[in-house]
């Protein structure tokens, strides 16, 4: 019983010099080696499981057609003092025809929390219904929570037709 215990102590400490035995030295080395192989193997195995799992959860990038310009339609179809949402690729763009007959276009995505803004003729402003954010007709955030101005788009007339292009 005592002898067994002793040998265990020796083994556990890996004190090969005291014993002067080559066999114990190899034992300790073997154990470390096994620890590295098994431990490393376990880590590698978990990684092999997790990598495809996390890659799967990450949605693939959809290739979008780059849109640089869209045709809205004839100017006469847009009443004064009104706004409309135009599809610009997969983004909404707000086209405003102001009361003094100017055309302005902005990204319709509120810079606060991603809602879609609208032109409010009674305020003469661009307004977001979600958190009462307001922008002036230059797209500047003037009141409420929006932290940044709206992204500006260019409006171009080609004959009678209104076109919107991304600002260069």
């Amino acid at each position: 019983m005592i002898r067994k215990k002793k040998s265990q102590v020796f083994n556990a400490e890996g004190v090969s010099l005291t014993l002067g035995s080559d066999a114990t030295a190899t034992d300790g080395g073997k154990r470390d080696f096994l620890k590295i192989v098994l431990g490393g193997g376990l880590v590698a195995w978990i990684a092999t499981l997790m990598y495809p799992l996390f890659s799967y959860l990450n949605p693939p990038r959809q290739t979008e057609v780059e849109v640089s310009s869209v045709k809205v339609g004839p100017l006469n179809d847009i009443p004064r003092d009104s706004g409309m949402i135009v599809r610009f690729g997969n983004k909404p763009v707000l086209l405003v025809r102001t009361a003094d007959d100017q055309l302005r276009a902005f990204s319709a995505v509120c810079t606060h929390l991603d809602c879609t803004v609208q032109y409010k003729s009674d305020l003469g402003m661009i307004w977001c219904a979600c958190h009462n954010g307001r922008y002036d007709l230059n797209g500047r955030n003037v009141s409420g929570p929006p932290p940044r101005p709206l992204e500006v788009y260019r409006v171009v007339m080609q004959g009678d037709d209104v076109h919107i292009t991304a600002a260069a």
């Binding site: 959860l57 707000l94 809602c115 879609t116 609208q118 977001c128 929570p145």
Partner: protein, 354 residues
């Protein structure tokens, strides 16, 4: 016959243990005993949700093209479809309400104190899952309100530092709220959350059974104090209350059936009066008051971080309220609890007003 049957089962699964356990199970009687019922009511409403949810699954189609139309079909064509959907919506609201009442009663009675920290923690996880159920289920009709509420909700997740953006893309299934978001939310709502909820609820209930009902601080703990046998006295009262809740549900569903609204359109401006479900209103309303910039941070980031920290502190109450665990009175817990209740009430009402 029944004796034989019982003997047959008893030989295979020792039912005698269960009988003895039930016979020994007692519910303590004191001024706060009425709060014991709200855990049971929450459980009942969860069961209602599972049943009505499965019924809705028979007709619901979780895709951008068909979701709104399939709910319209349920509401107008399927016999009693309006009833099943309305009960599902109302039970969801009452479920969150019952869970909140349950949580606050546990908080004020200090029932989270040692040795019930794990019951409190699992309960909090169940509350977050309940809110997750509500948030994911809200999108499924794919109507305008749901669409913009989800845009805002997921964008809020996106403003968190470091993990925000990947989390938002994970939730939305892309950069924008699209049909991909609907598919994911549908999956969370009918598979991921119910699975997690069932496992954690089991742990929660096992803990309650193993530890017995918590009794208020300073309450008489002598063995001959006033108690009520759980079986059948308390259970029958439980069942009676469940029946009353079912009736309330039926009345609400019939008098105020769920609406469907307009189908979501990514190219329409956000409608007026957009607001999340009532249980998110106090947070939504708070964010409205934050200025765009506070020092070097976006106002909303600060707001969300503050809510995160407050939620974490709330969840860790058994660990910072050491006094209650030692059996001493701690008035601070009452102040904190009252502040939170009043805050939630005031901001919910403010958010509710037009």
């Amino acid at each position: 016959m029944t004796t034989k049957l019982r003997a047959w089962f008893d030989e295979r699964i020792p039912l005698q243990d269960l009988k003895e356990f039930l016979a020994k199970k007692h519910v303590p009687l004191h001024r706060g005993s009425v709060w014991y019922y709200f855990g049971g009511v929450s459980l009942f409403l969860f069961i209602v949700q599972v049943i009505t949810g499965i019924l809705l699954l028979l007709y619901y189609k979780g895709s951008e093209q068909l979701a709104w139309e399939s709910i319209q079909f349920i509401m107008s064509k399927v016999q009693f479809g309006w009833l099943v959907r309305s009960i599902h919506t109302w039970a969801a609201n009452l479920f969150v309400l019952a869970v909140f009442i349950h949580m606050f009663s546990v908080f004020f009675e200090r029932a989270y104190r040692r040795p019930r920290e794990l019951t409190w923690l699992t309960g909090m996880v169940l509350l977050f899952l309940a809110l997750g159920f509500g948030f994911s289920g809200y999108l499924l009709p794919w109507n305008e309100l749901a669409f913009f509420a989800t845009k805002v909700g997921t964008d809020i997740a996106g403003v968190l530092p470091v993990i925000g953006k990947p989390l938002m893309v994970f939730l939305r299934g892309g950069e924008e709220v699209t049909g991909a978001t609907l598919s994911r939310f549908f999956g969370f709502h009918v598979a991921v959350f119910p699975g997690l909820f069932t496992v954690i609820l089991s742990i929660h209930l096992i803990l309650v059974q193993r530890q017995g009902m918590s009794e208020p601080l300073g309450h008489d703990t002598r063995p001959n104090r006033r108690v009520m046998p759980f079986f059948p006295n308390f259970l029958l009262r439980d069942l009676l209350l469940w029946l009353i809740v079912l009736n309330i549900l039926a009345i609400l569903a019939v008098l105020f059936p769920s609406e469907l609204g307009k189908k979501a359109d990514a190219f329409a401006p956000a409608p007026e009066g957009i607001r999340p479900e009532w249980y998110f209103l106090f947070m939504f309303q708070t964010l409205k008051y934050f200025p765009a910039q506070v020092l070097f941070m976006d106002g909303e980031v600060l707001g969300i971080l503050l809510f995160g920290i407050a939620g974490l502190l709330w969840m860790l109450v058994p660990f910072w309220d050491r006094k209650s665990s030692r059996g001493e009175a701690n008035r601070w817990v009452n102040y904190v609890g009252l502040f939170v209740v009043i805050y939630i009430l005031v901001f919910t009402v403010l958010g509710w007003l037009p």
